[in-house]
Amino acid sequence: MAAGETPAETTGRGRLAARMLRGGTEPDPRFTLANERTFLAWIRTSLALLAGGIAVEAFTADLFVPAVRKAVALLLLVLALVLGSGAFFRWLRVERAMRSGTPLPLPALAPILAIGGGITAAVLLVVVVLRPA
């Protein structure tokens, strides 16, 4: 990489990047930026689940019994936590794969989100169906 061409901009590859992404060559910058945007999309998904979990806990006191409210809020918050940390590791693995030119890892987060969302929806469905009219 042409270091020192534009000093303010090329000081970027600091110790953290050197330690977490060692080996390989600098990938196509478009792919690095695309990987970053994909990470951000997962993070926003995680933030939406976080906001949803907090909303269920804070706004549904007269809708659900405490146990249901707690369970649904916890499901959403745990899913938010898993997706938030998973997003980082996926970003890192994709970046490493791009540096070394190996096949990209499959998105393990997608089935987790699908199953977690499905379980939450199923719990809500059961609660709504069993609710006294």
Partner: protein
């Protein structure tokens, strides 16, 4: 920061990436607004959550110009440079907010 140079990428990657960061900062603002609902019952716990999420959104927005310039520079140099620090910091923050939310739901008294 006077000279944020352009780039020759017709796919507008640097712009799309900084917009993705903007959307993320807005999602953080929404999440912080949810914590406001805990204000009457959880007091300072809620206040600190609201302010840390808002502070993160402000940091993201105030570094946008720098981020766009950096993205453009990587396109010009044809060498991708991963923003390890920013990505790691954001992931840690979101995980921490989720963990704090879980603790609140489990431990703090229900009003």
């Amino acid at each position: 920061m006077a000279g944020v140079h352009g780039h020759g990428d017709p796919g507008l990657q640097p712009e799309r990436t900084s917009l993705a960061w903007s959307r993320t900062s807005l999602a953080l603002v929404v999440a912080s607004a949810m914590f406001l609902r805990w204000l009457p019952t959880h007091g300072w716990y809620a206040v600190s959550l609201v302010f840390s999420a808002l502070a993160l959104a402000i940091v993201i927005n105030s570094t946008q110009r720098c981020r766009y310039g950096r993205g453009s520079a990587t396109i010009r140099q044809e060498a991708g440079r991963a923003s390890v620090g920013a990505v790691l910091a954001l992931a840690v923050a979101v995980v921490a907010l989720s963990a704090v939310g879980i603790v609140a739901v489990l431990v703090l008294p229900v009003p």
